[in-house]
Each structure stands twice: as structure tokens, then as C-alpha cells.
Symmetry: D2
Subunit: 352 residues, 4 copies
Amino acid sequence: MRGYGMFSVGNPGWLDKERPACGPLDAIVRPTIIAPCTSDTHTMHGGSGPKENLILGHEAVGIINEVGPDVTRFKPGDYVVVPACTPDWLQLGIQNKISFSHDAGPFGGFKFLGQKDGVMAEYFHVNQADANLAPLPEGVSPEAALMTVDMMSTGFYGAEMAEVAYGDTVVVYGIGPVGLMAIAGAALRGAGQIIAVGTRPASIEVAKDYGANAIVSYKEGKVAEQILELTSGGPNKTIIAGGNPDTFAEAIAITREKGFIANINFFDVKDILSFPAMTWGLGMADKTIRGGFCPGGAERLNALMRVIKYRNFDAERIISHRFHGFDAMEEAFHLMDKKAPDLIKPIVYTGE
Amino acid sequence: MRGYGMFSVGNPGWLDKERPACGPLDAIVRPTIIAPCTSDTHTMHGGSGPKENLILGHEAVGIINEVGPDVTRFKPGDYVVVPACTPDWLQLGIQNKISFSHDAGPFGGFKFLGQKDGVMAEYFHVNQADANLAPLPEGVSPEAALMTVDMMSTGFYGAEMAEVAYGDTVVVYGIGPVGLMAIAGAALRGAGQIIAVGTRPASIEVAKDYGANAIVSYKEGKVAEQILELTSGGPNKTIIAGGNPDTFAEAIAITREKGFIANINFFDVKDILSFPAMTWGLGMADKTIRGGFCPGGAERLNALMRVIKYRNFDAERIISHRFHGFDAMEEAFHLMDKKAPDLIKPIVYTGE
Amino acid sequence: MRGYGMFSVGNPGWLDKERPACGPLDAIVRPTIIAPCTSDTHTMHGGSGPKENLILGHEAVGIINEVGPDVTRFKPGDYVVVPACTPDWLQLGIQNKISFSHDAGPFGGFKFLGQKDGVMAEYFHVNQADANLAPLPEGVSPEAALMTVDMMSTGFYGAEMAEVAYGDTVVVYGIGPVGLMAIAGAALRGAGQIIAVGTRPASIEVAKDYGANAIVSYKEGKVAEQILELTSGGPNKTIIAGGNPDTFAEAIAITREKGFIANINFFDVKDILSFPAMTWGLGMADKTIRGGFCPGGAERLNALMRVIKYRNFDAERIISHRFHGFDAMEEAFHLMDKKAPDLIKPIVYTGE
Amino acid sequence: MRGYGMFSVGNPGWLDKERPACGPLDAIVRPTIIAPCTSDTHTMHGGSGPKENLILGHEAVGIINEVGPDVTRFKPGDYVVVPACTPDWLQLGIQNKISFSHDAGPFGGFKFLGQKDGVMAEYFHVNQADANLAPLPEGVSPEAALMTVDMMSTGFYGAEMAEVAYGDTVVVYGIGPVGLMAIAGAALRGAGQIIAVGTRPASIEVAKDYGANAIVSYKEGKVAEQILELTSGGPNKTIIAGGNPDTFAEAIAITREKGFIANINFFDVKDILSFPAMTWGLGMADKTIRGGFCPGGAERLNALMRVIKYRNFDAERIISHRFHGFDAMEEAFHLMDKKAPDLIKPIVYTGE
């Protein structure tokens, strides 16, 4: 079968590989819509180390082609939503309730890219289908469902880690698709003032629609100063959904005592994160710093899709580009890689 | 000064009393808008035991007339929002973080009605003004602010005690003003499907505007059966904001294993709450049952008013009747007592 | 193979059944030591409805006889500790973190007795061995390990549900083996005063060793009155590990506002649980009522065995009777059923 | 009156100052036993900026000399235990439940040293006596009580911030008095293996008595490597109670995914805290980093003293030196400053 991916670091292209085999608990899925993600381009550029002959992609909805004999909830032909993170529920890490994503060691639940081929292929493999796949519910479009598998799950997790509560003042650094979802997630937890940090016009519009009350840009002056002024001294919750190590330091500095800093940004393997002890109350200001990975599994998607359905949440709002045809994956991937100015999130209809 | 209240149980009317004295940390406030509450009529009817010569009312916004010498954040003339629950922050119960409402013994923080005259008077007393009064912020109407002091604080507390999370299926029993606020509170925490139980047409409209996806009425059949069908087996969160002991038993029965039942309903002193052990998994289904009192203090109101301001939450939406003139308190009180069919929440502009 | 169990309700005895088959993820275990439990005798008497030809028993340690082809962490000959509750980790209920015990519907994780034969047999079946079995660690005796699978896991869960914190005043109703473990669990969470309610001399001694500071008996006067006096007004945490519906009502009444009532007692299918609204602050005293089931899975046992090993916790202390030989299961079972006065917990060495 | 403190940075000595005045809610206390702390010597050396004519000391028990007219729970002659952190309970920061220590801005509740003279004087001032002072309970020695006011409150807070649960593997960096209390706090929350990092022989002995299962010293090799070996890959909870920025980085590196790093160490104003993103899972390993300040208030001490009383916790065990006479404060202070090799915690009986 064909799949789009990387021959080696820095060397993307179309691969020809064997169709994956289906274990007794597993499913083989044909993608109907996929979405490339910066993690895919990041991997292609070597951001997670050397990789070869790997099909990329970890965001998809599709139709089941085959299920293993022990799968009970699904059958071929079912339309399914596939989480970016598909934990192995028999691993012991699952029994630590903090996060199912790290099923065995860090990121153990991130099978696509990390442990096997991704979803930008004619067929892809899903482990433990019963526990990981979600049926597409009535009242939710496939496109909206596709936005739950990573963007919404990760962005909303930022708001969850920050423990956003009624009336909280929240800053979100970054207005890429995940940052936008963090804004929406904060609004949907009843935040008070939400301030987004970013500059791209297309994203700013969505940020406002999703609940941002103000947008701060480095073009208008020092970001921290603008935030401190807007919030009369700093937010009590800060979500980092973009930026670099300086963003990390700034987030700690602006957040008030007893506040939360929640990171959902993938830092680089070479990054050193650092901040002055002073800005953390010399270690005693009761500021909590968290950073976590996209929660996976079927129930996560079921819950997020109920938000879409019953709260009328417009998850499709972040889709900026729609491509048609299996081969368009290539163009979408390159668009993602180049970060066109009007880009938020591209999707590709495979033609299935 | 004049105040509306009760001479004795069952005997409401206008009282003439001394203006309250102002302690060093306290404030004397002249109400500009007050809202009678069922707790006031309930108290008049003897629901909380024998009481005499008591001015009623515990929901008010107003203008400060006098502050004690140790008050630092307020001065006469300030427009303030007054929480229904004004804890004594020096009591040891404050140091148990579960709830500040019970500052010393149960409900110790509920000073109005419980320990002194209420707000339906020319002047009323607020203890520890700096910690209990909230300034009216720009962008929030006095009427919306008035809705935070009890209705919104109590209703939202229902959603908080139920730990409503993204996508949760929530049932709210009762669509009086507190139940409506519980619906809004659940929606503002990102609930999935919200089902409200009630019959009053005026309230049903607000329930839908506030986020209810379905309304269940006993007139259409057994309430529990309708809920089980709508939710395919029961909600995982249930908020009781109205009803009787049967409602309590039903709430436990319909809620799924691992769910939460949060009560914000005032039961009667004579009520016996009971439920079959079977519906609670013989004591082992991991269903949590909570019941709590309106959170008070200045920061609670500040947070809720930020929700109004930044989430565009229409807290005034529950106001069904507006009366004008100090003397109209009497009519508003009787309307509340009779529960007119189109009543949700009345307010009275005192003319101050 | 032979197994001890019930032909029908009220009709216990030795059964001859087929040896259970081993699925690809499963294990077949030969018990070396088993412990009968009141749940077993309760089931025999029909407490959980009609059952036929069922081997009883759900507390065992043993040696693996066979593993399925997909088991990776265990092999025949391994000495293993078997949780009473062995969830199916692929069920969606697992993804609700409140408790893994209810994997699909209430108590879905309780496979022994509920869904298949128990452990009082020559061989028994364990589903998903990798996720459910714990190896016996160095420094923990098999007998102590056996006490973790239900008694310690359930008793400690009582202290967890009660959120026992440093210095909390805790009452534990019932000093059977689970109540004793709740006492130990409370002490191991840093409780302050611990008061145990019970009368059996053998248990009282263990209760004191495990951390009870006072013992209250109905023989010395009204239990509630004695507790209120000892605690100057009631505990803030109460664990129910024995008793009847009156105990439930009393636990709610004595617990202070903002306190927790945690139930680990199996009530009867016919029990009605009831309490006066007054004792629950008319529904608003912020008293949390919980009731949950023995947490299962491998990591639960691993954690509890680390407590035994590193805190020098004497889990064997509750073992009051030791029987030898496979056939002694019958005598141990009858002892359990009769509740001999000096009984706490019996175990049977099978001779394996 | 006389008091020991600092004339200016680097210039300690005896000061002559006015006896503090007593406000209406306050108390004036004569210390009977005080304990110097490294925060005192640190302040003298300029660690918290320039200060002049300041009496030092923030750990004391004593006898009330005078109370304000609005104090209701205490009277002259009462023996009281004084928290190091005495929040102003009327500040709005109190209403954020994360920590009462930061009543208004970071460390607002730390009045001694920060906002007024300390306790190493003939008389000292306590704000809001009813909410901040704890009576010395029967069954607790004054010396043990003295150990609760900062050492035990701070050390145990480390275990609380780390959310130590049954069976957790815990590393504690630092075995000064606070680190020792963190070890005890972890043991009293039911930790599994506890590993302490330190070298001082006197402290090592106490560490073992308090529950440490292993001691790691840099003298035996790289600390991180030793820990990784002892724990088969790292602890899931790490408490930093001593060390420098390298300790902070190491703590993050060794702690497993989903673990907690809790800091109770005072870093220097010039310190930069930094760690490689890799060791934090590139920002996504769900490792929580917290750092907080000694919880204060009366109820904190009441709870800790109940632990001493009912768990037989030997809080005096960390006292290594006992001085007698008011003037001995000077010697004790200098001992603290020099950190004699056999020093853990000195106390001074004032002769009152």
C-alpha cells in the first residue's frame, strides 16, 4: 500500500509498504479524512531522533476495514474516530491515574510515529480497538470529530491541567490550533478574562470567537508588560501552547502566587528550560508547573464529542484548508511544514 | 428604621428597629436593589424554627453608608455587592478549606436571618467588610451582580460539587432560579448533555437558553424512566436543586456507578432522606453524595462577576419581576410566597 | 478438579468441575494459600441472589500453572498475588478514573463469584494476567501478601475515600478484618485520634496495635454519645466497615460539617438506608458521603506490598486461624460462617 | 525590651526596642522556648535584602502577656504555640484555598522578619490571636509543639504537595530538620520506599528513625545514579528540602513520568533554576513541579499536634542542642550560622 512519510530525516515522500496485520484485539482502518500536524513535520526534520521509512500522520477518522476476532464493539464498515494516543490498556502505567498516555514509560501510548506507521496511508493499524476507537456519533461531523483526536484533546488538557475554575484569569501563549483549543477549553470551564498571545490574523479571529477577551502581540510591546497591565498584576492560570524556553520562563514570572502554569507545547530535545528562582517565589510561591501529553482512548473522544454536540462547540472553526484526494496529503504536509501565513489547520479528504 | 420581616412565625410585616451599629471592621449598607428568596418565606413560615422580630432578606446590592475605622478597601458611597453568606474569617472553621460557609459550626457564615437582621431594611450590617464586600465592577449591571450573591453562587456550587467535567451527562432536578443557575454552571464547566427536570414554562425557556438540552416533566411520564431513556442508562452527574426526599432517592438511583449526586436543595427539618441500598450498589458503587451551602465572601462574588463580564453570561435572565419602591418589598415577598406561575426571581429597586 | 463452593443457595459443599481454560491473555493459577471471606458465606446464603454450582473464594496467592500466549510478564511456576478484583482493562469503564473496579457496570471488575468460579479450587482462572497479577516481592510473606488482595485494599480504600489527612479525627465502625485495615489505613495516612467501634476482644487488641486510640462499645452506653464525648463534638472523618442501616444514619449524624463518611460495608439487598435531613444540615452541611468497592489490579497490590515492606506494616496481624490442607477449606469456611468469637481472619494452606 | 537580631546586614547583635503594642485582635506573648532557624541567619546575611534594626526569630512557644479586647479564645497566662506563618485572615488571598500563607501577595502571611520584629525578644506580637494561636494540648510537650510551628509544618507540606500515597517511592533531598520532617511526613502518609539524600551522621540516624529506608550520599558516587539503581528507574515522588539549583534539575530528571516534584527549599535570590526539556519529557511527561511555603494558622498546628499526640510521633527527635537562659539565644544563633557538624536543630529555653 502507499503512504506518505519519510525515508529518513529531512527526506519526506511516498512510501510503499505492506498493509499492516490485524491482531486479535485490533482493527485496520482506511482513513477518510486526515490532518497533518506539526508533530509530523517535526518528526520528519529529526525532532524526535533518527527514523527511517516511516509513514507519518496521527490524526484521522475513517472506516474500519478489518477487526480482530476478539473485538466486540466494532465491525468492518463502521465509521470511527481514532485518538492520536492509543494506549495499551494492559500496561501497568494505565493503573496510575494521572494520565493514561504514558502507558509504559513516557509517551508509551503514542503508538503512531513512535512505535509504528502513522495514518497517512491507505490502511493503518489501531491497537485494542474496543478501548481506543470511538464511533462517530449522530450530530457530530467527521471534520469536527477529527479535530478532537489531538487538537481538542491536547488543548482542553491544558485547561484541565491549569485547573481553570469559574472566573479565573487565563493567559494562553500561542494561537496555533492547539492554543486555540486551549482558549476554547478555558472558556468552556467558565474562565473569566482570557488573554491570548499571538500574531497571526487568521488565528486571532478564531481566538476571539473561542472566547479570548484580548490578544497580546509582541509587535505592540513587551508581552509580559502588556499582560501585567491587562490583568492588574498577572493571571492566575497560564497555558503554554507555543513558544520557546523564554516563553516558559515568562509564563512562570507572570503567573501569580498559588497559580498554575500548564504546558502543552513540545519543546525541542536541545532546549534548556530555565527561570529565575525569584519569579517562583524562591521556590515557595505555591505556583504549580505542569506539562502533559494529549490524553487518548475512546472515552476521551466520546466526552469531547459530547461537548461538540451538546454545547454547540464549533470544533471545525480551526480548519483553514481543505484538500481533496489521497495524493493531496503531500501538498497539505508541505503547507504545514512551511506554515503559510493564513494556515491554522489543514485537512485532507482521502477520497474514501 | 423600617424593615420588612416577621413579627413571629407565620406573621410577616413591617418592623421598626434601631439602625444597626457598625463595628470597627464592619460596614452599614443601604440597599439599592434587593431580591426576596424562598429561604426568606421559608423562615417566615417557621422552616428554621421559631424567630421573632426579624428583618428578612439576604440578597442585596447597595451603597455603603458607613464603615468601621479598620476597614481599608471601602468608603461611604461605594456601590457594593453583598454575599448572602458573610463568614467571620477569624473563626477556626475557615481554616478547613472544604467550605468557608461553615465558619463555626454548620452555616455559621450565614449571618443574615441566622444571626442578625436581613437586608430588606433601610440599612443593614455587613461584618468584616474588607473580606466580604465586592465592589461592583465595570461591565456588570447591578441586577446581574445581585444574581451572584446567592442564586449563582449556590447554583454554580452544585456544578462544582458534582465535579462536572468536559462531556459529562448532567441531570438537574428543579428549574427554580437556583436550578437554572446549576444548569448554567454545568454548561459553563463544559458538560455534555444537560437534562433539566421541571414544568414551569417561564423557567423552561431560561433552562434552554442556559444550556439544557432536554426538559423532563412528570406530566409526560415517570421522570426516572424518561431520564434513563434520554441518557441510555443514567447520567454520571446529578444536581438536586428542588424537590423532596423522593427526589433525593431518585437522584441516587439514576446516577451511574462512579457518579456524583450534588444537593443544593434545602430539605425540611422534618424530612427523612432514604434510599434503597441496592441503588447505591449496596454501599459500594462509588457514587459520591454531597450537599453544600452557598459559598460566600468577596472573592466568590468577584469570580462570578468575571464570568458574567468575560463570558457574557446573562445572569439577569432569571429575573422575572421587577418592583419599584421600598414598600414594594412587601408585594415581592408575597409573590415569592405564593409562587405565581410565571415567577422565577423577583427583584425590588428600593429607590435609593 | 475439586473446588469448594455452593450447589445452590444455602447448600455449600465440594464441587467437581472442569479445569478452567486459559485465554491468550490469561493465566491459570494453583492456590497455595486462600482466605475465605464473609462475601463468600454471604453469597452462599443468597445475599447476592440465586447462584448454582459455583466455586467460592476470591482471596488467594498461588503458583502459575499456565499462561496464555500473549502474557509477557509471567510464566508457569511464578509465585503470584491475585487481587480480589480483576478488572477487564479493555472495558470503557476503566477510562473513568474514579475506580477501576466498575469496569463495565457496577462491580464489573469483580469476576470471582460474580462472573466465574472462585479461587477455592485446585486451579482458578485469572483474566489479563499481565495487568492483574502481582509477583510476590522479596521481603513480603505470602500470608501478608494474601491480606492485601481484599482486606487491606478495601480497608485502606476506606481511609482514602475519607481523604484522611494529618491530624484528622477518625471513627471506624466495625473491627472485623476490613475495619481493622481501615484503622491501619487511617493511621498510615497520619490521622490524629482514631476511635474504633466494636466489641470482640481479639479484634480490639489488633485495633490498638494498628493505631486505634480508643475503643467504643455499645455495651458501655450509646455509641454516638460516647464518640461525641471522646471527640468533643464528633469526628471529621467516619469510615463504616460494619454494621447495619442504623450505623449509616449514625455515621452521618456524628460527623461534623465538611466531614467525610466513607462506606466499605456491604449492605443487604433489602436494606433501606435513611437519615434525618437535620443530621445532614438539611442537605447543606457539606458532608460528603461515599461508598466504594475494593480497588483491584496489579499496581494496587504492588503499592500495598510496598507499604508492608517499607513501613514494616504487619498485615499478618489480622490472621487469627491457620488451617492446613486443601480439604481444610471446608472447616475454614464454616468457621467464617459461624463467626466464632475469637475469629478475625482464617487462612488455609492448600498444601501446594 | 531586649531582643536578638540584626543592626544591619551582616551585623547581628542585641537590640533594645519598644515593647510591641497590642491591637484589638492581637496578643503579646513572652517566649518560653525559641528555636533559631536558617531563615534567621539567612536574613541576617542579607538573603532577603537589606534590613535594619530587626529582631529575628520566628519559631516560639510562650505565655500570653496581653490580649486585645476582641480576642475571645485566649487570656494572659495561657501557654500558646505560635505558627511561623500568621496570616491576616481578612486579606482576600485567604479566599484562594491553595495556601493561606500568601494572604496578600507572596508570603504575605509571614509577618515575623518580613513585616515586623521576630520572636527572639522579651515580648513579641501576634496578629489575630484567635485565628493564629494554638493552645498547648495535654499530652504534647512544649518542645515537640515548638517543632510544629515551622519544621514539621514545612516538612509535612512537602509530602502533601507531593501527594504521597500508599506505597509511593519517595526521594527526599536534604536531611536538615525540614528534610527530616519531610521524611516523617512521607512515612506518615503511607509511602513505600523512602530514600534520603544527605551526609551528616546525626541527621542520618534520625532519618532512619523517621522512616528512611536508604540513605544516599554524594560521597558514595553520583547521587542520581544511586537513586535510579535503588528505585529501579526513579521515584514517583521527590521532595527537595535542601540543595541548590543542580538539585532542582536532578529532582526533575530522576522523577518518573506522572510523578511529583515538591520543593520546600528556599533558593537564593540570585539562583537560576534550569533543567533540560528532555528530562521533563519535552514538556509533556506529566511531571508536576510544585514549591510552597510553610502553612500557618492555628488549625495547622492543632492538626500537627494531634499527629504528635495520637500517632506517638517524636517531633523532639530533631532537637540536637538545648540552651538555657535568654542570653543563650546569641550562642544558639551563632551555632546555627556556623552549622556545626552535629547540629540538627537547637532550641533555647528563655527562662520564662
